[in-house]
Symmetry: C2
Subunit: 719 residues, 2 copies
C-alpha cells in the first residue's frame, strides 16, 4: 500500500509532525491494520441456525463486493465483524463519487480524466474514505453494495455499523485545539477531513455563536451595573444582535459549503432505504426510473403531527405546571413537618416524569416521521428535528414562562387555591395567616431572576458533569467490573487472543472498547446551543449577566464537545452537509419569539409595580410594535447583507467562469474563445447588400452632406 494514500498519515503530516513518528511505534493503532468499519452482530440466542445463516450471508456479501473481513468475539456474546476496504477499490469509488458530484453541479471543476491522477491530485480524506465504505456497506445489493440495514428485515441481528476512531489524530487535534483561543478555519477543515462536513458544521456553528455571544455578554455586563432591570436599550441591542447573528450565520454557512465543495450536496443524497414509492416514474431529464410518493399525500400525513403534537404539548405542559405548582407550594407556602425532605420532591418529579413523557413523545414522533415516508435522510431529519425541537422548547422554557406570565402577575390569587386536595394542609396555614396581620401570601418577586441564574450557572455545571464526568466514572466502574469478571473466569474466556501478536490484540481491544461506547448524536449538541440562544434572546433582560455566563460555559463546551467526539462516543459515520439544516430556522424562530417576550416582560415588570397593574392595552401595543420593529430590522439587515454577496457565492461564480472559459478554450480553440472574429464580421458587414434604401453609394461624406442638408433646411425654416 502506498504510504501517501494512507489517510491517517496524510492528516497527521499536515497537523503535528512529531506525532507521525509516534504512529510507527504503536503498531496496533496504525491506519493500515485498523478496520474501516466494525459490524456489531448479536447472535439470536433462540436459534443458532438462523444466526449462522445470517452471519454467513453477511461475510459472503462483504467478500463479494471486494472487501476484507475478520471476525472476532466481542463482549456480551456479540460477534465483531471487522471490515476493511482495499484502497484500489476505494479509489475507483471515489472517482465515481466525484464524477457524480460534478454531474449534479456540486463540484464545479470536472475531475481529472484518469482515476489515479484524480486521486493523487486530490487525495481521499479519511472522512471521504469512511463515507464511501459506509455507502458500499449500506446501498442495496442491486446497486452494487452490501445492502446492510441494521436491525431491519434480513439484517435484524446486525446491531450497528460504526467506524473506528483514529486516536493519534484525536489526541493531536485535541491538543492543538485546547491551546488556541479560537478555532481557525483551517482547523475546521482538518476536522471536516476526519469527521465529515456534518460534524464540522456543528463546530463551525458553535464557534461562530461563541464569538457572537461576546456582544450581549459585554453589553449585558454594562446593562447589569449601569442600566435598570428590564432595560429597553439592552433589549433593543439584544434583538438586533439576534437578527444579525442569524443572517450572518447563513452567509458563513454558504461560504463554508463552497470552500468544502459540498454546496448543494443534498441533491445527490441516497434514497432512504425505508422510503416506499407509490409508483415508478421515469425522470424526464436524467432518464432514470425513480420511485415517487405524491407530495400531497405526504403533506396530509404531516398534518397528523398537528393533533399528536397538540395532545403531547398539553400533557407535557400540564405535567410541568403541576410540578411547578407543587414546588411553589412546598417552597413558599408549606412549612410543616418533613419540609427538608419534601423540598426535593419537585426535582425528583421533574427528573422522572418529564424524561418519561419526553421519551414517549420522542418515540411517537419517530413513528409519525417514519409514516411521513421521507425520500431522503435530510428531509427525514428535518421533520424529526422540528418535532423534537418543539419538545425541547417546551421542557426548557415552560417554567420560566409560567413564572413570568402566571406566577408573578397572578400568584397571589392562584397559589392559595392550588392545594385544593389539602395535601399540604395549606388551607389551615392560609387561614391562620389571614386572621393574622400579615398578607395571606407573599409572592417571591425574585423567582424569575433566580431561575435565570440557575439556568445560566447551576444548570451548566450540572450539564458539564453529566456530559463528561459521569461517563468517565461509568466507564471506570464498567471496566473495573469487567476486569473482576474476567479475573473470575480466568484465561479460557479469551482463548483467541493469546494465540495472536500484540497488533491483533491491541486492535481487538480498541474495537471492543469502542463497541461499548454510545453512538454519537449530533442532535443534542445543536439543541443545547439553540436552547441556550433562546435563554439569551427570550429572557436575558431579566438578568443581563446570563450571556457572559453562557460565554464562559461555551468556551469549555467547545473543547469538551471535541473530547466527547474523539473519546466519549463511537466515531460517527462521516456525512456530508451543506448547512446546519433546520436549526437556522429554529434560531430565526427563537429570535422572533424574543421580540415578543422581551417587549412584554419590559411592559409588565419594568415599572416595579405589581405586574397585574401593567395595562394590558399598553402591553399589547408594545408587543405589536416590538414584533413589527423586529420584522423591519430583519428586512433592513437582509437588504444590507444582500448588497454584499457572500464570498462563497462570488467564489462559486468565479470558479464557474474559469471552468467555462477553460472548456471553451479546449473545445473550440483560442480564436473562438475570444468570441467571434470581429474584424472579419465587420468586413463582411461592409460588403453586405442591404437593398437600395440603405446603400451608401456616395460613402460617409455623402451621408454627412445630406445630414448637414437636413440641418440647413431646418434652420432656414426656423429663420
Amino acid at each position: 500500500m502506498d504510504k501517501s494514500s494512507c489517510p491517517t498519515n496524510l492528516q497527521i503530516n499536515t497537523m503535528a509532525r512529531p506525532l507521525s513518528e509516534a504512529l510507527t511505534s504503536m503498531p496496533g493503532l496504525s491506519g493500515e491494520t485498523a478496520p474501516d468499519y466494525v459490524i456489531l452482530f448479536r447472535p439470536d440466542p433462540s436459534s443458532r441456525q438462523r444466526t449462522a445463516a445470517q452471519l454467513e450471508r453477511l461475510v459472503r456479501r462483504i467478500v463479494d463486493v471486494g472487501m476484507r473481513v475478520k471476525c472476532e468475539v466481542g463482549d456480551n456474546s456479540a460477534v465483531l465483524v471487522m471490515v476493511r476496504c482495499p484502497t484500489s477499490k476505494l479509489q475507483s469509488e471515489a472517482y465515481t463519487s466525484r464524477v457524480k458530484d460534478w454531474l449534479a453541479g456540486i463540484r464545479i471543476a470536472a475531475p481529472v480524466e484518469e482515476t489515479k491522477d484524480s486521486i493523487s491530485a486530490e487525495p481521499m480524506t479519511p472522512a471521504e474514505r469512511l463515507r464511501l465504505v459506509h455507502a458500499i456497506l449500506t446501498i442495496p445489493a442491486a446497486e452494487g453494495g452490501v445492502g446492510i440495514t441494521p436491525n431491519v428485515g434480513e439484517w435484524d441481528l446486525v446491531a450497528s455499523i460504526f467506524p473506528i476512531h483514529d486516536p493519534v489524530f484525536g489526541q493531536s487535534w485535541l491538543a492543538a485545539w485546547s491551546k488556541r483561543g479560537i478555532i481557525s478555519d483551517s482547523s475546521l477543515t482538518i476536522l471536516k477531513d476526519n469527521f465529515g462536513e456534518k460534524v464540522a458544521f456543528l463546530f463551525a456553528f458553535t464557534q461562530v455563536y461563541f464569538l457572537f455571544l461576546g456582544v450581549p455578554a459585554v453589553v449585558g455586563v454594562i446593562a447589569h451595573f449601569f442600566l435598570p432591570q428590564y432595560s429597553i436599550i439592552y433589549s433593543l441591542v439584544l434583538g438586533s444582535w439576534s437578527i444579525v447573528f442569524v443572517e450572518m450565520w447563513r452567509r458563513k454557512e454558504t461560504n463554508l459549503a463552497v470552500r468544502w465543495g459540498v454546496h448543494g450536496c443534498a441533491k445527490l443524497e441516497h434514497r432512504r432505504a425505508a422510503f416506499n414509492g407509490d409508483k415508478t416514474v421515469t425522470d424526464p431529464y436524467t432518464g432514470e426510473d425513480v420511485p415517487v410518493f405524491p407530495v400531497g399525500k405526504r403533506i396530509l400525513r404531516q398534518l397528523l403531527s398537528v393533533p399528536i403534537g397538540f395532545v403531547a404539548a398539553i400533557t407535557l405542559a400540564a405535567a410541568i405546571m403541576s410540578i411547578v405548582a407543587t414546588e411553589i407550594l412546598i417552597n413558599e407556602v408549606y412549612d410543616g413537618p418533613g419540609k427538608n425532605v419534601l423540598i426535593y420532591l419537585p426535582t425528583v418529579l421533574f427528573s422522572t416524569v418529564v424524561p418519561f413523557l419526553s421519551k414517549s413523545y420522542r418515540s411517537a414522533s419517530k413513528k409519525v416521521t417514519m409514516f411521513e415516508n421521507h425520500e431522503t435522510d435530510s428531509s427525514y431529519e428535518q421533520s424529526f428535528t422540528n418535532k423534537i425541537f418543539a419538545l425541547n422548547m417546551l421542557t426548557s422554557y415552560m417554567s420560566l414562562f409560567i413564572t413570568a406570565y402566571v406566577y408573578l402577575p397572578f400568584g397571589d390569587l392562584i397559589v392559595p387555591k392550588l392545594d385544593f386536595l389539602n395535601l399540604f394542609q395549606t388551607s389551615t396555614k392560609f387561614t391562620e395567616k389571614a386572621t393574622g396581620a400579615g398578607p395571606t401570601f407573599q409572592i417571591n418577586s425574585g423567582r424569575l431572576v433566580n431561575q435565570m441564574r440557575y439556568m445560566s450557572i447551576t444548570n451548566n455545571l450540572v450539564n458539564f458533569a453529566l456530559e463528561l464526568v459521569v461517563p468517565f466514572i461509568t466507564k471506570l466502574i464498567f471496566n473495573e467490573a469487567k476486569h473482576l469478571r474476567s479475573k473470575y473466569r480466568r484465561a479460557p474466556a479469551r482463548p483467541t487472543l493469546e494465540r495472536r501478536g500484540t497488533v491483533e490484540e491491541m486492535t481487538l481491544n480498541r474495537v471492543k472498547e469502542e463497541a461499548a461506547l454510545d453512538e454519537y448524536e449530533i442532535y443534542g449538541d445543536y439543541a443545547e446551543i439553540v436552547i441556550q440562544f433562546g435563554f439569551v434572546v427570550l429572557f436575558s433582560p431579566v438578568w443581563p449577566l446570563a450571556p457572559v455566563c453562557f460565554l464562559i460555559n461555551n468556551w469549555v463546551e467547545l473543547r469538551s464537545d471535541a473530547a466527547k467526539l474523539c473519546v466519549g462516543y463511537r466515531r460517527p459515520v462521516p456525512e456530508r452537509a451543506d448547512s446546519i439544516g433546520p436549526w437556522v430556522e429554529h434560531l430565526a424562530f427563537v429570535s422572533w419569539l424574543g421580540s415578543i417576550t422581551t417587549s412584554s416582560l419590559i411592559s409588565i415588570f419594568r415599572t416595579g409595580a405589581h405586574p397585574r397593574d401593567a395595562s394590558i392595552l399598553g402591553t399589547l401595543g408594545i408587543v405589536l410594535f416590538a414584533e413589527n420593529l423586529w420584522l423591519g430590522t430583519r428586512f433592513v439587515v437582509r437588504h444590507i447583507l444582500k448588497a454584499v454577496p457572500p464570498q462563497g457565492q462570488r467564489q462559486l461564480d468565479g470558479e464557474k467562469y474559469k471552468v467555462r472559459t477553460e472548456y471553451l478554450r479546449q473545445l473550440i480553440g483560442e480564436q473562438a474563445a475570444s468570441a467571434g472574429d470581429k474584424k472579419l464580421g465587420e468586413a463582411a458587414a461592409q460588403e453586405e447588400d442591404m437593398g437600395a434604401f440603405w446603400r451608401m453609394d456616395s460613402g460617409v461624406e455623402g451621408v454627412l452632406q445630406r445630414a448637414k442638408g437636413c440641418m440647413v433646411s431646418e434652420n432656414k425654416k426656423t429663420a
Copy 2:
C-alpha cells in the same frame, strides 16, 4: 440579404401565415427597409457650428462601427438619424452575446461552435436584434460601441434613441390576442421575441394576476349577497389568497425565466454609464479591472432617502388630508351659496396639487437615486421604483385610510372644528343645528363604501379614457393641426420627399409619427396592477364586489395595454429581465399590510355600532392575531410549495445534467463516462497487499469458519 434572417418574416411565419403575404404588398413597412433605431437629434438653435460638429461625430462613429446611416428632416426642426445594422455584423454580436451568457451561467448549453451554425440553429429574434444594436449604440467607444448617452455630456443634442415598431407584427398579434380568452404561454413567447423579456414579464404577470383575481371575485360576489359586510370568512379567504398568489407568482417567474433562457441574466448587466467607481480593483476570478464603489458608502447615501422621504410623505399627507377635509366640509356640511360650483373644488385641488407634489417628489427621488451611484440599471431601477411605489401607495390609499381610521370614528368630533377659518361659515350652521333638535353633525357612514365603489368602477373608466381615448383624440387633433400647417406652408416645406419613391416616403412618415409618440414607461403599468391588488387586499371587505369589477376591468386592460404597447407609444428598447423585479416584494408588502387593515376594519366596523365604541384593546389584539396568522400562513404556504420544486428549477437541473453528461462523453470517452471500470478496480483490490492482518490466506471459507468459531465459543460461554 438572406430572407430567412429577416426577423420580421420569421416571426410572422410562426404566428399567422396569411399576414406574411401582406408584408410584401407593403414595401414601406418591410423589415428590410425599416431602420433598427432612430436617433432623434435636436439642433442647438444658438450654435449652428456645435450642432454640425456633434452631428458629424455621431454619423462618423456609427459608420465606423460598421452600421448604415440615413439622415432625414424631422418635425420641429429635429434631425432623424436612422440606423440599420448589417445582419452579418449582428450575427457575430449575437454569437459573442451567447457565449458570454454561457460563461456567466445564464445559458446552460454552450452555443454551437461556428457563428453561422449557431445563428441558424437558434435564429435571432427581433428583440435580440434590437437589444444588440442598442448595446452597440450605447456601450462606450473603448469597448467597441458608439457610446451614445442621450442628453448627457458630449451627446447633449441627442434627445433619444428608439426602435421602430413592426406594424405587421403588431396588428396580427393584437388580432390574435383579442380573439382569445387568455394569453397562452406560446403567445407570451412571441411577445418576448418581439419586445424583450422585460415587457413580456409585465404581460405574463398581468395575465396571472387576472386569472388569480377570479377567486376573490367569485368569493366576493357570494360574500356580498350572503355574508355580512366586513365578513371574517371573506377576509380570511382574501388574506390566504394574497399569500398564495404572491408565492405562486414567484414560481411562475422562475419557470418563465428558465424557459426564456434568461435565468440569472442580471449577472451580465452592463455597468451604468452614470456609475462612478471610487477606485479600480482587479476581479480575482475573472481577472478584469473593475471600478468599485464601497457598499457602505452607498448604504450611507441610501439613508439620505429616509429624511427626504419623511418630509415628502408628511407634505403629501398633509395636502391630501386638507383636500379630504375640504371635500367633507363642502359635501356634507356646507349648504350655502355656490355649492354647485364649490363641489368641484376638491377634485380640482386633487388633480392639481397632488400631481404637482408627486412630480417634485419624483424628481427629488431621481436625484437621490442617481446620487446613490448604482452600478447596474436593475439596481438603480429597484431603488427608484421603491421610492415611487411609496408615493403611489400614499396618493392611492391615503383618502381611504383617512375615512376608515379618522373620519368614521372621529368625524363627529373633528369635522365641526375643521372650518376654523370660518371660510364656509359652518360655525353658524353648527350652532343653528345645535340649537335645533337634530344631531349637530351626521357622519356619512356610507363614505367608505362609496369610495371603494368609486375606485372600483368610476376610476377604472376614467383611467381607461385617459389611457386610450385621450391619446387617440390628441393624436387626431395633432395630425389635423400638422396637416393644416403643412397645407399653409405648401410644398417647399417637404422638399426632400418629393424626389423619392413611395418606400422612402412611407418609412419616413412612419418614423416621424413614432418620433412624435411618448416613450413607453413600463413602470406605470406595474404600479396600476399592484395598487389595484392593494385595493382588493386592503379594503375589499368593505365592498366585496370590488374584485369582480377589477376582474372585468383587467380583461379590457390586458388588451388595451397591448394596444398601447404596439400603437400608443414608441417601441420600447427590448431589455432582458428574469423577474418582475422589486414589484413582487411590493406585492408581499401589500399582502402583509392587508392582514392589518382587514382585521382592524372588521374589529372597528363589524358590529355596526359607532366605530368609536370598538374597544381599542380588542382591535389591537385582533390585529396582533391577524398579523401573526398571516406570518404563519405564509410560512405554511412556502413550506408546502418548497416540497414541490418549480418546473423551471427541475428543468434547469435536468439540462445541466444533460450538458455535463454530454461533455463527459466528449472529453474522456464512453468508458470513463460510465465512471471508472468497476471490474478492473475489483480485480486490483483482490490482489492488493494489505499487510498480514488483513491477508485472507484461507479464503472466504476460512473466514466463515472463524466466524462460526466466534459464535460457538460465545454459545459455550453463555451455556
